[in-house]
Symmetry: C2
Subunit: 374 residues, 2 copies
Amino acid sequence: MKKIGILGGGQLGRMLLQAAANYPVETFVMENDTGCPAAHLCHHFIKGNITSFDDVYNFGQGLDAITIEIESVNVEALEKLENEGVKIYPSPAALKIIKDKILQKQFYKNNEIPTSSFVITQNKTELEQHINFLPAAHKIGMGGYDGRGVELLKTKEDIERGFDAPAVLEKLVTVKKEIAVIIAVNDKGENAIYPPVDMVFDPRLNLLEYQVSPAALPEKVLWKVEAIALKVVKSLKSAGIFAVELFVDADDNVLVNETAPRVHNSGHHTIEANYSSQFDMLWRIMLNYPLGNTEHILPAAIVNLLGAEGFTGPAYYEGLEEVLKTDNVFVHIYGKKETKPGRKMGHITILSNEKQELIHQANRIKHTLKVISL
Amino acid sequence: MKKIGILGGGQLGRMLLQAAANYPVETFVMENDTGCPAAHLCHHFIKGNITSFDDVYNFGQGLDAITIEIESVNVEALEKLENEGVKIYPSPAALKIIKDKILQKQFYKNNEIPTSSFVITQNKTELEQHINFLPAAHKIGMGGYDGRGVELLKTKEDIERGFDAPAVLEKLVTVKKEIAVIIAVNDKGENAIYPPVDMVFDPRLNLLEYQVSPAALPEKVLWKVEAIALKVVKSLKSAGIFAVELFVDADDNVLVNETAPRVHNSGHHTIEANYSSQFDMLWRIMLNYPLGNTEHILPAAIVNLLGAEGFTGPAYYEGLEEVLKTDNVFVHIYGKKETKPGRKMGHITILSNEKQELIHQANRIKHTLKVISL
């Protein structure tokens, strides 16, 4: 059996390991928190720091392949392991580009991939010189994750919230739709593309409300979305799973927002809704099996289950019983012991041929299910 | 989080634990083999003998609930644990009836559940007095499993293959169809029934060829099948998952063959084919959640992957790549290190709205995929 390691032990690792148990593979996880969601689902759990060169390098020696759950891993150790023959998904070269928002933006520009216009700012003083560029999003180069490291700067007064560190200032786009596309690439360079997903945001709170797959797009926009997402992935020249997030603007222009070189929240519905899930697909890639079928079995929606505002402590899932009574929903609780505001605690997948039913259930679940602490 | 234990660590435990990771639950497994398929997928693995009173009793203390993967567990320890407040699925009383083929047959008779006629034989001398009852199946009372402990006695000469131990001699039925039905029962006594499954046998080898869900049955036969399976489960007066295997004879009479008080091979397709799988359903029962939806998303077939004749040793899956190229199949390899003839090494699920496609792919997979040793 091949020995394959995952750096990071959160919910993505957990779902990867659920899928791994369909195949002959010996699994390893490294993470600092011994009680993390993935710790008990692997053959070998190694407590360690994924940002430490030594920890990652020691973890990887003797493994056939490594994948990541989060971008903030020690890339230098992965490069050394790659040189010594360990397969890394994604390649350290691709990971280096993506984990630095500045390099990522430059990569799009260099490869003529449409993206919003931007300037790079090394510090706050430089930022102040670009007041004319507002409204814009200021994104820190390194270390941002899940909304952290991004500030929306609309007026001159907002500048003080900007980062005094290398960052990208991205021109704000009038977004009609946000789309995510998951693409799988194997070692031979063959790829498989999942149907694009509509990411529906709450206009007031700018929070992701729910996702619907497949996205409702005019055919020409769909083609653009698929072609651009594929171009991103091909330009990265790496095997693995990639999630490309795109904006469709008022004129139906398609712009790349950002790319994740790993399994991604926008692909969780594929567990039940598609023949080969994104997690199944990554094992196929790492075990040198044929790519799976990305077609959907049924259309789906996902609602993320976030820790409710005002509650920190042992998690309690209020309304879970009510949701579990619904005929066409699938509950995924990530098993995190503690909730805190905004923490990803689980997700719910809804399957239906009827789009109205997907949206109706997504809204119902959002109002029924809350993660609180008693 | 509730603490729930599984006695036995084979593929049923493995698939139970894959499903457990969707819910907040702390999992425990006891099994003698530390390299068994489920060992690495639980929070706590305890090496122990599931037939030993002390081992089972010690395992169960402090747990909220226990379920089983196999009938051959120490029931006395489970009874003591039940008296001390641990929930047991199935109840020890139901398990006692089922694990002894003699008690099981008498249970059907006492509850007026149709089953083939039978006589009980305590030893070979008693068996010899029933030559007129042949052709019949001789089933050992305790300890039979997966075809072991059953002898087909057609003529006087076959008698010597009979068991010199308490056993049941069951009149042979002319079987038109073999059907399996999975039923879920919760603590309140509510139940949910899965669509019956057609078990298709090779007429020459008497080996299960493949299973198709839902079974093709005339409506009146379907009603009988469902009513009789429900009567079995209600008469057992236990919560849990039950698999009732039935014969349909030449005259469309429906007879119970046997019952398993646990998740079962005939329900493996429910992982992909039904809204709530049998594994998901058992967690719902044990965690006191509402019962799930047993409806199918798509019709399905299953092919079991057995160790090929003539090969014993480290498992190699010949033809696996070919099968993984098929658009509508799902592979489940159980991760057993060693193959031996007839050993259950995995299963393949096929989804399709077209019955012909299900049967075509089932046959193709049977001829493509082989578990050998290099």
